[in-house]
């Protein structure tokens, strides 16, 4: 048991250190010269929506405020069978010539994206979920990256939109960590997700690959893996800032994360030929296997910690039941746990703080940690294994997941 624990701790620490070393190497390396756009490629932003009456208005308003030549930019709203006022609200934006609206029966996000693909001649096509808003210069930043002909897709820097409660504060920290991970995965040529909020694609590549697929309800992951499989590059542009809504309740967060993890697991199985293959470089040799292993590592440590807590609880319960008195707290420094295991856990936590700080630096230009960081460190690790375990169970028995 101890050997397995140390082995998993070693791999987890190695992954963190590897990303940090790669980050520092990149910081020390010569920077790419900034590309200034003269010829703006035509871009189409698709807003697929199913019952998004709450967010569609702010999403479209932020898109119309984008700093990009008006004749080079269009917005395609795809009403995917909404039963609320989504269509009505979208139509109120139709007066702007850049907005086109299509309505279809509900078929899922990938069908909405494919419909948009058939109705545009834009060089770049992207998606902005109707629960997200985009910063004014985001498209300009992203379009500049496509000057490199090798680039097939560009992912943005995604930030949490609201921090109305503790759960959303914790998610804000998680998003900072994701900014770091997304940046580093792109730096290693290993991005395996092109997230829904404002990932932009070269339309010709999407057509060449045959359009979007269902991808086990995670079409953004499936598309990224298919691009990697065919040798296309996925870049990251953290300056292209997007703010996305985060689930306000645990139930909603749980459902969202089960879907994401389920999608990753099923897609990883579909693309298993990439795992461990040198042909796919860092992605095949290290990133995908480690991402897969990290799910089981998180569940393993969660079970171990819960078992340890349960044992301690049982001991205290036994003590109280046989003595009829509460134990005296012992603050003697002698009893402070300094086993190698705990020292390593503390070091791993310290490294995570460094990575969150690096994520803040990449995403905001400041190393300052978000206010919710202590909560994230203390509690989030106990929430994550819950959806990971559920997703593993559902993926094992192919039970499927639903968006809502």
């Amino acid at each position: 048991m101890a050997a397995v624990t140390y082995a998993l701790l070693f791999i987890a620490l190695y992954f963190e250190v590897f990303l940090l070393v790669s980050f520092l190497e990149r910081r020390l390396a010569k920077r790419d010269a900034k590309v200034m756009l003269r010829d703006f490629p035509k871009a189409a932003i698709v807003v697929p929506c199913y019952n998004e009456e709450k967010g569609i208005s702010s999403t479209l308003t932020s898109l119309l405020a984008l700093d990009y030549p008006k004749d080079k930019f269009e917005i395609l709203v795809i009403n995917d069978g909404s039963t609320d006022k989504t269509l009505e609200i979208a139509r109120s934006f139709e007066a702007d010539p850049r907005v086109r609206i299509f309505s279809k029966e509900n078929g899922g996000k990938h069908t909405a994206m494919n419909l948009a693909l058939t109705h545009t001649d834009a060089e770049l096509i992207g998606c902005l979920d109707a629960d997200s808003i985009v910063e004014t210069h985001a498209l300009m930043h992203v379009a500049a990256v496509f000057k490199d002909p090798r680039v097939a897709a560009v992912t943005p820097g995604i930030h949490a939109k609201e921090t109305n409660n503790l759960l959303q504060h914790m998610q804000k920290v998680e998003y900072r960590l994701s900014i770091f991970n997304r940046f580093m995965l792109a730096a290693l040529g290993s991005a395996f997700i092109t997230p829904g909020p404002f990932s932009i694609f070269r339309a010709s590549v999407i057509r060449e690959l045959g359009g979007w697929k269902h991808g086990h309800s995670t079409e953004d992951m499936e598309m990224a893996l298919r691009m990697q499989e065919h040798g296309f590059l996925i870049a990251n542009c953290p300056a292209a800032t997007v703010f996305t809504s985060t689930p306000p309740t645990f139930a909603k967060l749980f459902k969202q994360r089960v879907r994401w993890t389920y999608g990753f697991l099923r897609n990883a199985v579909d693309y298993r030929h990439m795992m461990g293959s040198h042909r796919y470089g860092n992605l095949g040799l290290f990133i995908l296997p480690t991402a897969m292993l990290s799910i089981f590592t998180a569940i393993y440590f969660f079970v171990r910690i819960i078992m340890e807590f349960a044992q301690q609880f049982l001991d205290e319960y036994t003590r109280i039941s046989v003595t009829n008195s509460l134990p005296m707290p012992n603050f003697d420094i002698f009893y402070f746990n300094t086993s190698a295991m705990w020292v390593l856990v503390w070091l791993a936590v310290a490294l995570i703080l460094v990575l969150i700080s690096a994520g803040s630096l990449i995403g905001t230009g400041s190393r300052k940690l978000p206010a919710g960081t202590p909560l994230f460190i203390l509690f989030y690790c106990f929430l994550v294994p819950l959806w990971l375990a559920t997703a593993v169970f559902r993926a094992t028995f192919k039970l499927g997941v639903r968006w809502r």
Binding site: F10, L13, Y14, V17, F18, V21, S22, E25, R26, R31, D32, K34, H141, A144, V145, D148, R150, V151, V154, F183, A186, A187, L188, G189, S190, Q228, L233, A235, N236, C237, P238, A239, H278, Y280, G281, N282, L283, L285, F286, D315, T318, R319, V322, T323, N324, S325, M328, F334, Y335, T338, S339, A340, V343, L344, L347, L361, I362, G363, G365
Partner: protein, 233 residues
């Protein structure tokens, strides 16, 4: 920050640098853990040296004064809490598992000190007409004694309630000849947990009321709360 575009070529140097750093982190963690364990062992050794000196001091004092006055000896007797605290520290070290050979050696030494203290107390009690209340507790932590943990909790609570009660705990399986002699002299069977009170062995879990029934003199002892109250007064 500027956008990042990169191919997925494997840079082995990065993998090796990360491996070296992770190895260094692991080595540091094990070194630090070992260092702190050594410090604890040193603390225990120092405490044992102090208690050992105390025992020798009382023994010598007793030899010198036994024909004159018992009060000085009784007043300077070793506090049971010093031994109890040392016992707790050793149990903790044993549970941690590190440096087990050294911890077992210290545990053996601790048992000897307990026996020595027990014998000395018996001698002082006889000559000075004192009636100390003593419990000898035999346990096993080999996993064959389901009630030993509970008995430990009961005795700890009892010691907290009656600070003057002297409890000596012994690992029944510890390979210390003096301990094994004590076990055979008092005919303590391998049926644990076992309490030896006034020369009689009690087997199985004994709760606080059971022990208070066996030792009615506990009722006349000052309890921790009454001591605290009198101190405050």
């Amino acid at each position: 920050m500027d956008p990042v575009i990169s191919d997925r070529n494997t840079r082995w140097r990065t993998y090796l640098v990360a491996l070296a750093i992770t190895g260094l982190i692991f080595a540091t963690a094990f070194y630090a853990s070992n260092y702190f364990n050594q410090r604890r062992v040193e603390d225990i050794r120092t405490a044992q040296d102090n208690i050992s000196t105390d025992i020798l001091n009382i023994e010598t004092q007793f030899d010198l004064l036994q024909e004159h006055s018992c009060s000085d000896v009784a007043e300077n007797a070793i506090l049971p809490s010093s031994l109890t605290s040392l016992g707790s520290q050793l149990s903790y070290m044993e549970a941690q598992g590190g440096n087990s050979a050294e911890v077992t050696r210290l545990k053996g030494l601790y048992s000897l000190m307990e026996i020595k203290d027990y014998l000395l107390m018996k001698q002082i009690a006889q000559n000075c007409n004192l009636k100390p209340v003593v419990i000898l507790y035999f346990y096993s932590n080999k996993g064959d004694c389901t009630d030993c943990q509970k008995q430990g909790y009961v005795l700890t609570a009892l010691a907290e309630k009656y600070p003057q009660l002297r409890i000596y705990s012994f690992d029944y399986n510890l390979n210390v000849s003096a301990l094994q002699t004590l076990i055979s002299i008092d005919n303590v069977e391998d049926n644990l947990p076992a309490l030896l009170i006034n020369g009689k062995a009690y087997y199985g879990l004994q709760m606080i009321p059971d022990i208070e029934r066996i030792l009615p003199q506990l009722a006349s002892m000052k309890t921790a709360s009454s001591t605290a109250t009198s101190t405050n007064d």
